[in-house]
Amino acid sequence: MPPSRTPTPPPASAPETPARRDFLRVAVHGGVLLGAAGAGCLAALPRATEEPPDDLLPLAEIAALAKLEPGTPQRFEITLARRDGWRVVQRTRRLFLLRRSGGDTAAAFAAFSSVCPHAGCEVETTGKEYICPCHQAKFDANGEAAAGPAPRGLDPLELAVQPRDGKPWLHVRWQEFVTGIAQRVPRTT
């Protein structure tokens, strides 16, 4: 008979089998590797660069705006250069110009971005008010939020009168703002 030894009691939990140890090793190492690869991929993505503010762009000759009726917004289009990844693209954006009072100064006008401050859709005008076709947000002629879910009024754009070809022209500076919040935070990227 071989020498017998007193059998030890079984451990409380099942012992770690080689298969389980292998799985855990693969899982931990694989997880770390995958995580590192994912972080590397994210870090390698080129970040959107912070763009300088747009230039003042010519909108219309002041003399031509004489026929703009006070309180009735008029739609304008401007073409902007925008960085999109590795290239600069031309984008057409819309804005609404409103005559607030008589006179030929920039203060006599107001310009509003056509981007809805709620979710970024393109707002349209009926001539008396602005309506967003996406979530039915409504704004009065002065751009103030009147109904619907918009957290703030339409975003105003900077206006200035500058000479162009020897004549005074109304110029506008395009700006985009963070949507969905009550504060008006300029978007810089």
Binding site: P7, P9, P10, A48, R82, P133, C134, P151
Partner: protein, 619 residues
């Protein structure tokens, strides 16, 4: 006891001793076997749904490969490339199957999750299946969201703009997530590259990790694999639906052009209504992010709340009620969203307006370029939009149209559609220009008849850009063209007898020598060869010889006095070359020679048998 039985007993004893020794070596007293996982409670529905999900995944992979073979990953070309694919019936069918398959995938994941909650099958030992199903549902949504942007049409672009705006509102990492997804101020090239990578690489790779488990779910107890009948039914249903309802593809995406039809997919309608109903800001954030967070918590946590199927289910009933309430509420909210749009003629029910449609067509007309220019590189995209918009003109008449004019209106719309389509398919530039002109003519005819107006059909040409004049080329210092010392004793080269007999041959000889001389002076293209002095002497000799051949001038000059005058002038002009200096001086003297040549050739009494001009010698 026999010897045999004694021997057997001994063997048993020895074997037992060996086993005990081995157990002792392993420091245990019993053989530990790997415990078998308790069997998942069998149910009749899960294998069917899992089989359908597997079939959907296979369909999506197959049709996705088909789409990837044609798809051009560029915001400018994505919609046009898919449109090109859809020109063949099979292409349209494949894309429609991909679209229907994706919708079915989302629906099946939702239904499967609901079923697992209803039957309490999220409990152990079915917790892995529950998590797997939840992960598959999340992947299906991610697939849908990323794939929805890929066509880059108006719906894709505006939908993605809105979703990225929502993403930016996410607590903590919202702006960073938006930036990572969009790669710029608005979705474009960078966003498309990222969405495509997610859609065709990252998400499929993640789905592969779930496939083995899903294959197991799809087996009935003892069955070998997915239920073939279910798989066949799913394929048949998707293929049939794709035959009758195609995948939508609209105008090329343009963030500056309003898109009132922007609405979420069917499974997002409830959320859309809630977002519309609550004020923007914190309430909207709550609507956007609390339900998904709750769903995630339920997905991960339920198997820990109710640990085992064997224990009495404490939350089973409340969970059933909650799932049912969510389902019914979701359905009701979706129906209300559609009903409100229907009532307000908004979203999918937006009525086309003629003025806006005309403005849109006008923009595409401009994008086709000025008639004096070749069609621009992106003419195919503008023409495709014009085709889609022209089709919408049919039946959308101006207010005061007479009944008899409606057929003509519809015909014009059809003509425009056809012309725009032919601009896409025609290769010959001349033909494409003609089609562009015809397209504009239809517009002009229609405006003339219905609005009594002459419309400006040509887009404005961009103002010419002031260009700095090129700096004057550096000219080498002037030098004498001919060396008088070398010229003095030089005799003309011998001329073959047959050349001596022909005025034309002599004239050709003179022309070639004149050209050689001009090359030596840098006034004619080509490398100078030989001696300029020799060329001059030969030229002079050739002119002398054909000058004497008035009788053989082929009758171009009937008047001998005129002929002699031209010959005299030519001789004087050639003598002027003796003192020529390279540069402007030589140029003027050669011009004087050329003027006599041209005058003589142009002043003939009969037409010349061939066209020749002095300027030909400059090449």
């Amino acid at each position: 006891m026999s010897d045999a039985s004694q021997s057997s007993s001994q063997i048993q004893q020895e074997l037992l001793a060996e086993v005990q020794a081995e157990l002792a070596r392993r420091n245990t007293s019993q053989v530990a076997r790997k415990p078998e996982p308790p069997p998942v409670a069998p149910d009749a529905i899960s294998p069917l749904v899992a089989s359908a999900l597997l079939t959907c995944l296979a369909l999506l992979a197959g049709t996705g490969i088909g789409l990837a073979l044609v798809y051009a990953p560029s915001p400018d070309d994505a919609a046009a490339s898919l449109d090109w694919m859809q020109r063949s019936g099979v292409g349209a069918w494949v894309r429609a199957m991909h679209w229907h398959g994706a919708n079915l995938m989302v629906a099946l994941c939702g239904a499967y999750l609901f079923w697992l909650v209803w039957r309490g099958l999220y409990r152990r030992p079915g917790q892995v299946r529950w998590w797997r199903c939840g992960a598959l549902g999340a992947l299906a949504l991610a697939f849908y969201m990323t794939g929805q942007f890929l066509p880059c049409d108006q719906n894709a672009l505006h939908g993605t703009v809105i979703r990225l705006g929502y993403l930016a509102e996410a607590p903590l990492a919202g702006p960073w997530l938006r930036e990572m997804a969009a790669g710029g101020s608005e979705p474009g090239f960078a966003a498309l590259a990222r969405f495509l990578a997610l859609h065709v690489i990252v998400l499929p790779a993640a789905t592969l990790l779930l496939l083995r488990g899903l294959w197991g779910d799809a087996r009935y107890a003892g069955g070998a694999g997915p239920v073939i009948g279910v798989a066949a039914t799913v394929v048949a249903l998707v293929a049939l639906a794709a035959l009758f309802v195609g995948a939508p593809l609209g105008l090329a995406g343009n963030p500056g052009e309003p898109f009132p039809q922007a609405r979420p997919e069917w499974f997002g309608l409830a959320l859309f209504l809630l977002v519309k109903a609550v004020p923007g800001g914190t309430a909207q954030q709550a609507v956007l992010f609390v339900p998904p967070a709750l769903a995630l918590a339920a997905l991960g946590g339920l198997p820990f709340v109710e640990t085992a199927a064997a224990q009495p289910a404490r939350l089973h009933k409340p969970l059933r009620v909650a799932a049912l309430v969510c389902l019914v509420a979701g359905l009701m909210l979706s129906l209300v969203a559609v009903w409100e749009d229907h009532k307000q003629k908004a979203g999918w029910f937006t009525q086309p307006e003629l003025d806006k449609l005309m403005a849109q067509i006008g923009r595409r007309n401009e994008a086709l370029g000025h008639s004096t220019h070749p069609l621009p590189a992106n003419a195919h995209a503008a023409a495709r939009d014009a085709r889609l918009l022209s089709a919408r003109l049919r039946g959308l008449y101006v207010a005061d149209i007479e009944e008899s004019q409606k057929a003509q209106w519809d015909q014009w719309a059809t003509d425009m559609e056809s012309l725009a389509d032919r601009i896409i398919t025609t290769t010959a530039e001349t033909e494409r220009r003609k089609l562009r002109a015809q397209l504009r003519q239809v517009c002009a005819d229609c405006h003339k008849l219905h609005a009594d107006e002459e419309i400006a059909l040509e887009p404005k040409l961009p103002a010419p850009v002031a260009r700095r004049p090129d700096p004057p080329p550096e000219t080498p210092p002037a030098r004498p063209l001919l060396d008088p010392a070398r010229l003095a004793g030089l005799a003309p080269l011998a001329i073959e007898a047959r050349d001596l007999r022909s005025t034309r041959r002599l004239m050709n000889r003179a022309k070639f020598r004149l050209r050689d001389l001009m090359r030596a002076a840098g006034e004619s293209e080509g490398e100078p060869e030989g001696s300029p002095e020799q060329h001059f002497v030969d030229l002079r000799e050739a002119v002398r010889l054909f000058g004497a051949k008035w009788d053989d001038n082929q009758g171009t000059h009937a008047d001998k006095a005129a002929w002699d005058r031209y010959m005299r002038d030519l001789g004087a002009a050639l003598d002027g070359l003796r003192d020529a200096k390279t540069g402007p001086d030589a140029r003027a003297r050669f011009a004087a020679v050329g003027k006599v040549c041209d005058d003589c050739h142009n002043a003939g009494d009969w037409a010349e048998p061939f066209e020749w001009q002095f300027s030909d010698l400059k090449r």
